[in-house]
């Protein structure tokens, strides 16, 4: 659907606008008033355009949320608070339109949807022994990355990170760093570097160990 809109966006827009022009022309020609039409159009336009711009990041992230929770990355839907590691890198054999199809061929991707409404989650990352990796947390209301775990942000040693939602007032267990999410939900994207084909099994084994679990009280 998106690809169709991309491909035929301009002619489709021209056709739709032409239909509207014809409708307005017919109203004027038959002597009907066009004030109600124009006023309704201007009100919806003036409210709708800013609203769409404001909501666009949320609509975009929600598209990925649906893709994760309803379709997954080839092995079925991925439940909330579960991270799924895609076993292969991006290649031309990925189906067009799939989330993986436009990725890099030197990364393994990990994806999941975080829901903190029933309590905090703990992100576990294994010892990456210097290997590049990152876990990106994206705020669905703004589509901005509010936190990172990974080589740049936290180093490559094994670690556990407490992910808490707004208003959580518990105690952070010893040895854990807290990451406060501005929303009860967040999109999680992990990336693990793959040196080359022979390194793929090692990288995949590490990517699978990036996991979420509920905080044990």
């Amino acid at each position: 659907m998106n690809r169709l809109i991309l491909k035929y966006g301009r002619p489709l827009t021209a056709v739709i606008l032409a239909i509207f022009a014809w409708v307005i022309y017919r109203r004027i020609a038959s002597g009907d008033g066009i004030f109600p039409l124009v006023i309704a159009a201007v009100i919806i336009w003036a409210l709708g355009a800013p609203a769409l711009i404001y909501l666009w990041p949320r609509l975009t992230v929600n598209g990925y949320k649906r893709a994760i929770l309803k379709h997954g990355f080839g092995e079925g839907p991925i439940p909330v608070n579960t991270l799924y590691a895609v076993p292969g890198t991006s290649s031309p054999s990925n189906p067009r339109g799939s989330l993986m199809a436009t990725g890099a061929d030197d990364l393994l991707y990990v994806g999941g949807w975080l829901d903190l409404s029933k309590g905090p989650q703990v992100l576990h990352v294994p010892d990456m022994a210097g290997r590049y990796f990152s876990v990106q947390f994206t705020d669905p209301s703004r589509s901005s990355n509010f936190a990172y775990v990974g080589k740049r942000a936290t180093g490559t040693k094994a670690g556990d990170y407490l992910l808490s939602g707004p208003g959580w007032k518990g105690t952070v267990p010893d040895g854990m760093a807290e990451i406060s999410s501005p929303n009860q939900s967040a999109l999680v994207i992990g990336r693990v570097f793959v040196e080359g084909d022979s390194d793929l099994p090692t990288a995949y084994a590490l990517a699978k160990q990036i996991q979420l679990a509920p905080l044990k009280q």
């Binding site: 991309l6 159009a41 919806i44 990925y64």
Partner: protein
């Protein structure tokens, strides 16, 4: 009630609502595209948006980024550049041959990796007989006598330079340059990727 419905259908209010919704959608797209262009910096044909993904962005930049580069990393995590045109501003096409010339010591500075990936204009990789879909810091690139490195961007293998060959699709294509954990010179803007030059 029946009167109100009749008035709604005859007065043109319903058509007005539909027209307003279509115009609102078009306006939003045009505004986001314009903001996207305004925050894009293009050097030597390589375009990047450095602001995307940052928590401090305002409503317009957030929307423009979500439209142009959804879910993109912050720039200090990964620098992304795209190119759709060569140094003479003509669209990249597999019918031509291009060179990317890095002067000695001028491959991109990084703390993780870099890679260059050709895709079709929609962003998808295209199969090629060499099964080579990117070239990067792990590629065994041959150096010229002066230490510089040439990457050959063309559809057919360049004889004698297969090692530095990056196969591109036969039709129009675009390039994606990724530098993960970009070095200081990229972050402060002093490092620039070389232009994509048509081979003679």
């Amino acid at each position: 009630m029946a009167n109100a419905l009749a008035w709604l259908s005859q007065s043109g209010v319903v058509q007005g609502l539909l027209l307003g919704a279509v115009l609102a959608f078009l306006t939003a797209i045009l505004v986001m595209n314009a903001v996207g262009r305004a925050v894009t910096s293009t050097v030597n044909g390589w375009s990047a948006i450095r602001k995307c993904g940052q928590p401090g962005n305002g409503v317009l930049v957030r929307a423009a980024c979500a439209k142009a580069l959804p879910l993109v990393n912050v720039f200090e995590e990964a620098a992304y550049w795209t190119a759709t045109a060569d140094s003479s501003r003509e669209a990249l096409s597999g019918g031509r041959r291009y060179l990317l010339h890095f002067p000695a010591g001028q491959l991109p500075p990084h703390d993780a990796f870099w890679s260059l990936t050709p895709t079709d204009t929609a962003g998808y990789m295209v199969d090629n007989p060499a099964h080579r879909y990117s070239i990067g810091d792990r590629s065994p690139l041959a150096q010229n006598a002066d230490g510089s490195v040439d990457i050959y961007l063309q559809h057919e293998p360049p004889s004698g330079h297969e090692q530095n060959w990056l196969p591109v699709p036969s039709g129009k294509f675009k390039l994606m340059f990724r530098v993960y954990l970009p070095g200081e010179a990229i972050l402060d803007g002093t490092y620039q990727l070389p232009g994509i030059v048509r081979a003679q």
